[in-house]
Symmetry: C2
Subunit: 332 residues, 2 copies
């Protein structure tokens, strides 16, 4: 295993140590909980707290999106495992200024369970936690069962819009509604070309045969809807766009934001090659692209592959998406 | 080969197509040369033009650093090959406002040759091109032969400081001096864990045996100074820091910027694990870290590995480094 690790069981611990050392100007480790990252200036007086949480191994998600006009605190789980209820609770406590906290997280069993528990625990301490559950992954359930779908890279748009709204001084309900609207406007799909390996396991926990690809794959290798022969990037990009747009049902004249994220080990040039086909397919439907994001925004360790997220925009979503942020995930 | 490509011989062409579609709000393709990326607002009246150029396969370098307060134009080469003299020339022409152009590029034979030729061609058209040649890669030549060293990720700091200086309205000579000072203040080292593959070749053009690492490896797989058994991240990070700092000869009390870049297929969490050891080693020498950048800033296709760049800072370098930029490489 050709990796920069120490003890494979301590990957998260070591990642967090290096993370807070790198970005001490933006974030800090909670003094109460070594699995909670907190924005340096949190809690902000009079502001709704915005938190998320999820398993590690998706860096820069989730912790890299902590910062100005974005997330105030992040609960950090072990690799591909939900953070504990206590970590979600401590994240909320770390950024609660009295106006309540919104937890914007992904639809996974462990996260659902632990967030629910955290809400109860927080209520006992007089902290109100509202939630939005991301379910943008089109292939993870049928259109009429959207509540069963997983949350993937659309979460970044949810955090951006929710975080920007909170920074404007909106109420808890307003922030929740905005984040809900943001994720409701997102559809995503993943295509996997090669699996990832948990360092402590040492071998992939699923397989993708050479010259094939898995369409609809999840962030943890959850099976997709089909295994196909690996096609050209133009064909793959078109297929990804069609899956997302067909589910989205956007009308001609719609405006969208596009996010193409590598899954960890796919070089950036290939993501741009995909984007050529994706943006052409979107344009062919008479849909306008407001902004395109291409890079490793939400990964899965060293998985080879990419995700596409398309978010439908109205004036408010566009305005919130365009708010400048300062966070470790995108530093220059 | 599990990749998102169309014709493997058209990777650069297809990357550029997807790149300009993604970032049309920041960049455009030159109308005169399909291998030149130009900042949307270039040329800026009264501003020195700032250009670079280099082989493709290092995305987001070089083209991703085109934008506000950064590069005005970039000459794009084929994979791991220098851009042509004409492309360097056309990049210069695209951003020349009459105050001259500075070309900030890396020390490779092809680039040196083509930039020299571009300077002559530009002179005939009345455009002055000044140059700074990056040579921050410590292991590529001995300390007393720094002019033989290759340029690697230190180029990003050179672009940032040079670009910010030019945006302030400095003269050609002032911009050149600033960029020269920036790269003179940088030292870098690379460690490779697994090789990369040119899509048109289909197999790696060099090898790194499992359970070993190549210390001092170049961005194109140029041999390092030694092959060692793969150590823990703590040991590798310490070794990288020592190589860079020993060559740097910084005194206690010095202030630095740190850039840890993945080489393409190394997950972000591992870069943070490396940073834990790197930042500790820097601190142990009584050196203060002003800012740390961790991510895929300068890659080599799908190579597994990382580079460390340490830049010594004075007040001016710090100020220029902190200037906000807007470019495709770091969009959120």
């Amino acid at each position: 295993m050709q990796r920069f690790v120490n003890d494979p069981d301590e990957v998260v611990e070591d990642t967090l140590k290096g993370f807070v050392k790198a970005h001490a100007d933006i974030v800090r480790l909670s003094e109460e909980n070594s699995r909670v990252i907190v924005a340096k200036d949190a809690p902000v007086d009079g502001k709704v707290g915005v938190i998320t949480g999820g398993g590690s191994g998706h860096e820069p998600a989730f912790l890299g999106y902590t910062g100005q006009n974005l997330l105030d605190a992040v609960a950090v789980g072990e690799l591909f495992s939900s953070p504990t209820a206590k970590s979600f609770l401590d994240a909320a406590k770390a950024c609660n200024s009295g106006k309540g906290v919104v937890c914007l997280y992904g639809n996974y069993a462990g996260d659902n369970m632990n967030v629910k528990m955290a809400i109860k625990l927080a209520a006992k301490e007089g902290i109100e936690i509202a939630t939005v559950v991301a379910n943008d992954d089109v292939c993870s359930a049928a259109p009429d069962e959207r509540e069963k779908r997983r949350g993937v890279a659309g979460e970044i748009f949810m955090w951006k819009c929710g975080g920007a709204k909170a920074a404007e001084g909106a109420s808890l309900e307003e922030v929740r509604e905005t984040a809900q609207k943001a994720i409701d406007s997102c559809r995503s799909v993943g295509v996997g070309l090669a699996p990832c390996t948990l360092p402590a396991v040492g071998h992939p926990n699923f397989s993708i045969e050479p010259d094939t690809m898995e369409v609809g794959i999840g962030h943890h290798g959850e099976p997709g809807v089909r295994v196909e022969p690996l096609k050209t990037a133009a064909e793959v990009g078109k297929e990804m766009a069609n899956i997302v747009l067909d589910d989205h049902g956007l009308e001609e004249g719609a405006e969208v934001a596009v996010l193409i994220s590598g899954l960890g080990a796919t070089p950036l040039d290939e993501l741009y090659i995909l984007n050529d086909a994706i943006s052409e397919e979107i344009a062919a439907r008479g849909i306008t692209i407001h902004k395109t994001y291409v890079g490793n925004y939400f990964t899965s360790l060293d998985m080879v592959g990419a995700t596409l997220t398309v978010m439908a925009l109205d004036d408010e979503m566009k305005r919130l998406l365009d708010v400048d942020v300062r966070c470790p995930a995108r530093l220059l």
